[in-house]
Symmetry: C2
Subunit: 158 residues, 2 copies
Amino acid sequence: MVLMLKFFSEDEFIQILRKHGYKATPQRLTIFEVLKSKDHPSAEEIYEAIKKRFPSISLTTIYQTLHLFSELGIINELGFSDNRSRFDTNTNPHINVICPVCGKISDLEDELVVELWDSLEKKLGKKPIKHRFDVYAICDTCENKIQAGRVRIEVKNI
Amino acid sequence: MVLMLKFFSEDEFIQILRKHGYKATPQRLTIFEVLKSKDHPSAEEIYEAIKKRFPSISLTTIYQTLHLFSELGIINELGFSDNRSRFDTNTNPHINVICPVCGKISDLEDELVVELWDSLEKKLGKKPIKHRFDVYAICDTCENKIQAGRVRIEVKNI
DNA sequence: CACCTAATTTGTAATCAATACAAATTAGGA
DNA sequence: TCCTAATTTGTATTGATTACAAATTAGGTG
């Protein structure tokens, strides 16, 4: 951990690619920039955002690049039961708080999570490779809509 | 929490269905029994196991039933990036320790996880609905194969 | 116990995110 | 500037899951 996509400059990012033997293509750099600005985007959302800056880009490139970034450990792919992965740029120990109504994901950083993560090396006999901690709770926005009777509960990502 | 599919008798299970207005069909009871005996099965694995006891069952029924059980809160659907959900019958606070090589999932019950779960109500301002904590670590079986040079690393569920 | 009806099951067709593939393009070293 | 392996692109395909409508059935009622 400690690495965090959001804090890399473009130059640092290019160095990371080169160090691993990968080329610094404009497509990769653009996807990197878009990832910085998005929260927990799906491939489709990334594709839509990137087409604005890079109209010729192919969806296949998006997928290949996201898999490459996952392999490099700078993002995590989060598979969901609705078959739409989302991509997490926060690789430090944290909890994804997911609203089952609107699908919004927000990060909860917490000392106890770090403590739990650190304790796992001893408990498992080896340091784990990565984590994915999800918790489901209705977000305030949706809670208010429900209170006001303005929404029928329809569950996402659950 | 406290509910645990593995510890329900068939009669108790029938009562749960009826209490919620659902019929106790032989298909549902068979799926319930098979879930008791499987660890973290996919829909396909459940289908294969059930066809032995109930040859006429349809894959659609498997899916409908698994979704019903999820709705009742007695199992959790775990979506993965390979687009194959697996179903977790352990709804108590625990960590899924996933081997990225063979895909094996084992449960780690731990006091810190319970403590973390219990602390979330205060931190979020509301009691969360459910959790899903995954950690990736190569299992002993795969570790040994790798040491012996008998396997090329090929990643699953990651 | 037989009947009735809404719930459930079944088989097939459709969906759609993700992947495979092969041709065209390009980063970056020589 | 050239060269080549890496990368990108567009299209075709895959495969888990869902939609749908017809057939069946659980379980309540008289």
